[in-house]
Symmetry: C2
Subunit: 196 residues, 2 copies
């Protein structure tokens, strides 16, 4: 198992047919997730293209997650976490924490993505809107959104199968100013495993 | 009034404090809408940042639409259209029409954005997920999305006030293969006016 350290990011190559199992080790950690076409980093998993492709806000087992060129890049094949994830909300960034009142630098998922890709000598063309695994953003009355702790439990997991060779990247979200990583507001590590 | 020709895009400079009134001239036309910081095209209106800023999927009168740096760029100040717009769905592109079975080139909002900005000598850094004015994508049971004709009526409009100097761009969506531009699936022109 590879660690996604608390408040940090980590990337890995995933070849077509391989899967990645993302484990919510301590149960309440949101994991921002991205996938880039290994052959062309300008093609990447896109939430706004995926929603219309699957006809849903939140993917379910069997759904393909598609790129900004509308090609399948990952498929959700297992989910023991309760099935609550988010596709609506941007990755946190330094501006998010400044607006929350943080006067000094705060770790954030956007910088974690950049750092994780930097280990592969790559620069993300932007911070794509992530698949926020385990993140609980219910839509109330068809419009209002709420920010709640995850419903996932320790050791629960999601498995994503690669539909093309890709670079996947994860960030163990460092958000500790709202209860998105649990009521304790204490970000933790998570883990992943490449299968196949 | 400036025309957004049927199936085409059009951009305009909008200075801080000026407003743009977007009129649904024939009543059933979706208008994909973007805004870029005039001083730095890499900063642009972002739906994934706006949703968490306003706590809603669909902006209402008074809401600020924010950029990928979480700064207000436009504010919704008037809306006579029934208040149904979309922030969830990507702009259509050639891949969308290929998947719908179109064997030849089909006009699309992504290319319309690029053409509209080209008139200003600019290249969009990407196709940001647009504010789809008048587009009716209800969320059913908190998860499933539907694709319905607009609820807007002929001559109804939305007014957006600039919170920073920006370049706004519009596309009269050329979608004629699903009933997103009305049950007749007949894209039309729309119009806009700069005020102030």
């Amino acid at each position: 198992m590879i660690e996604i350290p608390a408040r940090r990011g980590k990337a890995a190559r995933l070849l077509q047919g391989q899967s990645v199992k993302i484990v919510n080790t301590y149960g309440q950690q949101v994991v921002d997730t991205w996938a880039f076409n290994l052959a062309e980093i300008g093609e990447f998993m896109s939430m706004e293209h995926t929603r219309i492709a699957i006809g849903r806000i939140i993917p379910v087992i069997g759904d393909a997650l598609v790129t900004n060129r509308r090609r399948s890049i990952l498929r959700l094949v297992e989910d023991t976490s309760g099935g609550i994830h988010d596709t609506l909300i941007a990755a946190c960034d330094r501006w998010r924490y400044e607006l929350l009142g943080c006067a000094t630098y705060h770790d954030n998922c956007s910088d974690n993505l950049a750092a994780a890709l930097h280990e592969f000598g790559l620069v993300p063309p932007e911070t794509p809107s992530p698949l926020n695994l385990f993140m609980n953003i219910p839509i109330v009355d068809g419009n209002r959104i709420d920010v709640l702790p995850p419903v996932s439990t320790p050791g629960s997991f999601v498995t994503l199968r690669a539909e093309m060779d890709c670079l996947v990247a994860f960030s163990a979200c460092p958000q500790d100013m709202v209860p998105i990583n649990g009521a304790a507001m204490m970000p933790t590590a998570a883990h992943f495993e490449i299968i196949g």
